[in-house]
């Protein structure tokens, strides 16, 4: 017993190392699984508050750029208003519209923490459960797709950005409706470029074509901009094209985002979950 004690105290550094290293690894692996330990991350109250304070100061630096992008968006929205269209008919009629129901509503949020230099990038926004945000909702910005909601606390939520190796977004080419999935982070760590996969060989893809969301998933409405084709080609004998997409959103200057709330999401998921009768 005494010898054992001597042995332990002689090589104590090694044993401490084993203990603490395994604690970290356990934390790391548990955190990586589907059930994330959601206490120690930046949707936590204290950390979120700290990030919000520094972001409040930093936001002044980007004020001009943000104003420009908001003004541009205003202009676009103004163009979609009824008053912007010329009407041919002389008689005006009031129509009670019972065909169209609202499907998407948007919750505006401010980015309080952002990263683009890591392998798995996340964004923290200052909206949470209180404001109606739920796990898995889509997030967009005035210029295009941003990502998916990952964790939600009462006042903050973290967003798994497009620049995250686990993110898959259903995208299609505007010009010919071919659809595939958009990925980032496989042999490509440029924050302005993503890869579009699973588009078959026979589809004609040329440089400059627009990539938009397909609307097949319940997260994003159809037609939200993602980017434009930068380069295309076949990789060594595969039957799918490898398309590089120049992203339209500059993640490094992101400040305001909209969280997409699909009011019919539950209904669509429910009907898609029904298995065919055998």
């Amino acid at each position: 017993m005494r010898n054992l004690w001597l042995f332990l105290s002689k090589y104590n550094a090694f044993f401490f190392f084993i203990i603490f290293f395994s604690i970290s690894i356990v934390l790391f692996v548990r955190n990586n699984s589907f059930q994330r330990a959601s206490v120690l991350n930046s949707s936590n109250q204290i950390v979120g508050k700290a990030y919000e304070t520094t972001n409040y100061l930093k936001s002044y630096l980007n004020l001009a750029v943000v104003n420009d992008s908001l003004a541009a968006e205003n202009a676009r929205l103004r163009g979609e208003m009824k008053s912007a269209f010329y009407s041919d008919s002389i008689v005006k009629r009031e129509i009670v519209d019972t065909i169209q129901h609202q499907q998407y509503s948007y919750i505006v949020g401010e980015v309080v923490n952002n990263s683009i230099h890591h392998k798995d990038n996340t964004i923290t926004i200052n909206r949470g459960r209180k404001h109606g945000i739920k796990k898995g909702m889509g997030v967009i910005s005035p210029t295009g797709v941003v990502g998916l909601v990952l964790n939600v606390s009462d006042n903050y939520s973290t967003v798994q950005s497009l620049l995250h190796s686990d993110t898959r977004i259903s995208a299609c080419i505007k010009e010919n409706n071919a659809f595939g999935s958009l990925t980032w982070g496989e042999e490509n760590y440029d924050p302005m470029v993503a890869l579009l996969k699973d588009i078959p060989n026979h589809v004609k893809v040329t440089k400059g074509q627009h990539i938009i969301t397909s609307g097949y998933s319940t997260r994003f409405p159809k037609g939200i901009a993602i980017g434009r084709v930068r380069r295309t080609g076949v990789k060594g004998g595969e039957s799918f094209l490898n398309i590089e997409v120049q992203l339209s959103t500059d993640f490094s200057t992101l400040q305001y985002v909209y969280v997409v709330n699909n009011l019919l999401a539950a209904e669509q998921e429910q009907v898609e979950a029904i298995q065919p009768a055998k």
Binding site: A13, F16, F20, S24, L27, V29
Partner: protein, 171 residues
């Protein structure tokens, strides 16, 4: 004694602050990202008991992890850092000298020793960090490039900050 504790406490807070609010936003694409916060572990006094050294390193890593949303990675890397530090100091520093040279600083230990000390500890720390982050050996070349470039970045920052607070031997 109390002065040493207060000094290290301030150093802890300041380094975490710099790392999280300044250096997190700096990087050459994904290739070189600096991790200056390890300076805290580098500068702990020689006489720190092993258990305290490990607890402090672990806490430091956990704090950084909380801000980076990468629970466990930095904590594991700082544990490796603490272990390598113990081995390195055991191999290179004589036991008798400990009373007169309380802290492993540039001004006290000399440039050559401090440079190798930083080099080896930083390399081990970054290697663990990036290998755990990618968690695969398939991209090993890319990961190694990241380790080397980030280490250079970190070492330059560590040496710079040591030169800024340079103090000659107080004897």
């Amino acid at each position: 004694m109390i002065r040493i504790i207060i000094n290290n406490l301030i150093r802890f807070v300041v380094l975490v602050f710099i790392q999280v609010f300044l250096l997190k936003n700096i990087g050459y694409y994904n290739l070189a990202t600096p991790f200056l916060y390890i300076l805290f572990v580098l500068l702990l006094p020689f006489e720190t008991p092993n258990i305290l050294l490990f607890v402090l390193s672990f806490l430091l890593g956990l704090t950084i992890d909380t801000f980076y949303d990468t629970l466990g990675i930095n904590a594991a890397a700082t544990c490796v850092l603490a272990f390598v530090r113990i081995i390195f100091i055991n191999l290179t520093v004589q036991r008798q000298g400990l009373e007169t040279e309380p802290e492993p600083k540039l001004g006290i230990m000399g440039f050559r020793w401090f440079f190798f000390y930083t080099l080896i500890l930083t390399l081990f720390h970054h290697l663990t960090l990036f290998l755990l982050e990618t968690f695969t050996f398939s991209d090993i070349k890319y990961t190694l490039i990241r380790v080397v470039l980030s280490s250079i970045f970190t070492i330059v920052l560590v040496l710079l900050s040591e030169f800024i607070f340079f103090r000659k031997k107080e004897r």
